[in-house]
């Protein structure tokens, strides 16, 4: 057991930090600490330009293999990159769905043509992606997908109809990957297909969902006979479930450590306020701040265990608990931030409903324990896969 980084890795860390210091300036200065969850709607154009700047510096898709345009970084280097990126206050990746989800799925399951067609745009930061999984009737129960796909022989295209929901950044995206039912009458996880689709076409309509923050980074996406090229289904029709599940595996990983550095930035902000307004002398606030610090520290150690064990294959226990742990921590931080602010917590940045960063965080964290598998679903997964406890009895549908 050894937890320090090698001298080569530390050299890499200095290189990342230096590049960020030199380049996160000028027009990009305004992006510092912006664009994370709850702030995704901010500065989309400037963030796209930043993404392209990263690509020019060779800092996009650092974990991807070099043959696909990535940097081929080791896990340690990816961790370091994500940590330094967040430490510098560099903005949330507007292209993170392409880099973290669509790209790795195409690399793992796509054919040569799909790789050639889609990967360069993701690496260059010029083409943004969104994710078409959830539906009004299929949130955590993804197997309940109703969106349909059928192949039109005359047009030589797949025709997609249905509705997706909670689609982050759909309004900014160039492409969407969609799970739809290819086999009429199929149920649950059988008979699904995995499609790569262009957003800018007549059959797709995007409607923003106004969130309790007053802003819209989630959307509803409606498909009315939208088209997908015959070549743009990943894998075989009916096998979309396996690909979707493979993709969910990519959601966890090295980026968690960068996420924690953002959490650290938020906690530091709360600590600064507490020291300024004197609430740091309140014994209860002291306990809660210390508790937040303790649990954030251990979040980092959890991730380090998760990454160190990654080579053994299979999901380790510390990976199972990860989502439940961080989402609950972040929700608690939101509440702590408001209590530290006291009555000042209520005062908006400006009318009509412009929130400060901490207010926005406080409201947005209520979604952390819901999206990506609710805490309740996470607990079922932990109990069933981690502890071997029996599944819920199935209700027979008529």
């Amino acid at each position: 057991m050894k937890i320090s980084f090698s001298p080569e890795d530390e050299k890499f860390r200095a290189e990342v930090a230096q590049w960020l210091t030199q380049n996160l300036v000028g027009e990009f200065e305004q992006l510092k600490f912006r664009g994370g969850p709850g702030d995704e709607h901010m500065f989309p154009e400037a963030r796209k330009k930043w993404e392209q700047k990263l690509a020019q510096g060779g800092w996009s898709c650092v974990g991807w293999p070099k043959e696909y345009g990535g940097r081929g970084c080791s896990i340690e280097q990816q961790v370091i990159f994500n940590e330094e990126y967040a430490r510098a206050g560099a903005p949330g990746h507007v292209g993170h769905i392409g880099e973290g989800l669509a790209g790795p799925t195409i690399i793992a399951f796509g054919n040569a043509a799909q790789k050639q067609k889609y990967l360069p745009g993701i690496v260059a930061g010029t083409e943004l992606w969104c994710q078409g999984y959830s539906e009004p009737g299929a949130g955590s129960d993804l197997a309940n997908v109703k969106t349909k796909a059928h192949f039109d022989e005359a047009k030589g295209k797949w025709i997609i109809s249905g509705q997706k929901v909670w689609t982050s950044l759909a309004h900014e995206s160039d492409f969407i990957f969609v799970i739809a039912r290819t086999n009429p009458g199929s149920i649950a996880h059988k008979g699904l297909g995995f499609f790569l689709m262009k957003m800018d076409q007549p059959g797709i309509e995007v409607r923003g969902i106004k969130q309790l923050t007053g802003t819209s980074e989630f959307n509803e996406v409606f498909f009315d006979e939208a088209e997908c090229d015959a070549d743009d289904i990943v894998g075989e029709p009916g096998e979309g479930w396996a690909i979707a599940m493979g993709l969910l595996g990519f959601e966890r990983g090295v980026s968690t450590l960068g996420q924690q550095m953002q959490f650290q930035n938020e906690l530091n902000q709360v600590i600064d306020i507490a020291k300024t307004n004197g609430s740091h002398q309140d014994p209860v606030i002291r306990q809660r701040i210390a508790d937040a610090h303790v649990r954030l520290k251990i979040m980092r150690y959890n991730s380090m265990r998760m990454l160190s064990d990654a080579g053994d294959g299979g999901l380790k226990k510390e990976a199972l608990i990860y989502k439940l742990y961080w989402s609950t921590w972040h929700r608690d931080l939101g509440e702590l931030a408001m209590d530290v602010l006291g009555p000042e917590a209520e005062i908006l940045a400006s009318a009509p409903y412009n929130l400060t960063r901490l207010q926005s965080m406080y409201l947005f964290v209520r979604s952390d324990t819901i999206y990506g598998g609710t805490n309740e679903i996470q607990r079922n997964i932990i109990a069933e896969r981690g502890l071997g406890m029996p599944k819920e009895p199935k209700v027979q549908l008529k």
Partner: protein
């Protein structure tokens, strides 16, 4: 970055588990805890002679195995799982650590060698009746008298204090306060003026004692560390013991989870095992989360402890790592043990089932060396003051 156990560390863990499953069964624990001594000589002798665990992290020059704090923590986790009744914690995590950190070359040569031989048990006494765990805990006093020292005062909550042959005591100069004026001495338990009284405890698996010093005279050879300035060393010893306690807590938090899952899978109500009910599964999931998170905290702290003893870039994190681990593990173990009683239903409230042994150990180890709130305040001082 390899934050996972090496093959050798896994082997140590598996060997420890197999041995403890044999010698520290529920029956063995119940036999040992019913005695005033609190452990069975023959099991302690097997641990020392067959397993050589007491020597695990003692340097080779004194006859030890010279392994690291991570290896020690691996063992402690298993001991916590099996509620091992033995003077291991007091001798190794208090006595040996104190000697390693603050002992003179002569003291190390004599006492560490005797610990390795299995002929000496030891403990540390520093906390007075005020029940504090920081520097203010030290209330007993010392007055230099020529080449000797005169010691007076009393200590409570001393693990195995009534049975250990070597007691390392912390005392302070008369009139001093806080971190000033603290000295450490080695003290033979049979020195005239030393009286020791067993304090019967709610958690019977670990024995505590009160120790009173009444005009005890010791020579200069018994002084450890720097006279009147030993707080940094004592503080380090306390941090190391705190991490060791957290390791035991982690093992307990895991074992009580395993026992609970096993029980709920067997217990049938309304025509199915209660483990199938979501209300039960969700509590068990939270228990697993706490056990896993506790392990991350303790393994990290163990790596820090290793560097604090032998040098390394993380050495400066010792105080924080100890408080991070102890605050999380104290809450986590207690919550797991209390949930375990609930999930065991009526039998969880009985003497016959082992759940209560874990519930009681969880509380005693939570209170020992500072509870979660105490350690959070230590963290708050680092962050906020």
């Amino acid at each position: 970055m390899e934050f996972s156990f090496t093959q050798e560390q896994k082997m140590i863990r598996d060997t420890a588990e197999a041995f403890l499953a044999e010698v520290s069964s529920s029956e063995a624990v119940r036999t040992a805890m019913a005695t005033e001594q609190g452990y069975e000589d023959k099991i302690w002798q097997r641990i020392c002679a067959e397993m050589y665990w007491q020597a695990i992290h003692i340097p080779e020059e004194y006859g030890g195995m010279g392994l690291g704090y991570v290896e020690l923590v691996v063992m402690l986790e298993e001991m916590g799982r099996y509620l091992l009744c033995s003077p291991f914690f007091s001798t190794v995590c208090l006595g040996a650590n104190a000697l390693i950190i603050a002992g003179t070359p002569e003291q190390k040569q004599q006492y560490l060698s005797e610990i390795c031989e299995g002929s000496l048990t030891a403990t540390l006494a520093y906390t007075g009746k005020n029940g504090q765990w920081g520097a203010d805990a030290v209330q007993a006093t010392v007055i230099p008298q020529g080449d000797n020292y005169l010691l007076n005062g009393s200590f409570r909550y001393v693990p195995d204090g009534h049975t250990a042959s070597l007691i390392i005591v912390a005392v302070r100069d008369e009139g001093s306060s806080g971190e000033d004026g603290i000295s450490l001495f080695t003290l033979d338990a049979h020195t005239p003026g030393v009286s020791r009284t067993w304090l019967p405890t709610m958690d019977e698996t670990r024995k505590q004692a009160e120790i009173t010093l009444d005009n005890v005279i010791v020579s200069k050879a018994h002084l450890m560390g720097a006279q009147s300035k030993a707080w940094p060393q004592l503080n380090k010893i306390i941090h190391l013991a705190t991490i060791a306690t957290a390791a035991e807590q982690t093992g307990g938090a895991q074992q009580i989870l395993d026992l609970t899952v096993e029980y709920t899978k067997e217990r049938v109500q309304f025509g199915r095992p209660v483990a199938g009910f979501q209300a039960v599964k969700h509590q068990a999931a939270d228990m697993m989360l706490r056990a896993e998170v506790a392990k991350s905290a303790v393994y990290y702290a163990a790596c820090v402890a290793e560097e604090a003893i032998n040098g390394g870039p993380l050495a400066g994190e010792l105080a924080e790592a100890a408080s991070v681990a102890k605050s999380y593990c104290s809450d986590g173990y207690f919550k797991n043990a209390s949930d375990a009683i609930q999930l065991h239903g009526g039998v969880g409230f009985t003497w016959e089932y082992d759940v209560h042994l874990y519930f009681k150990r969880a509380k005693s180890s939570e209170l020992f060396l500072g509870n979660a709130a105490y350690h959070r305040e230590q963290v708050a001082k680092l962050l906020l003051d």
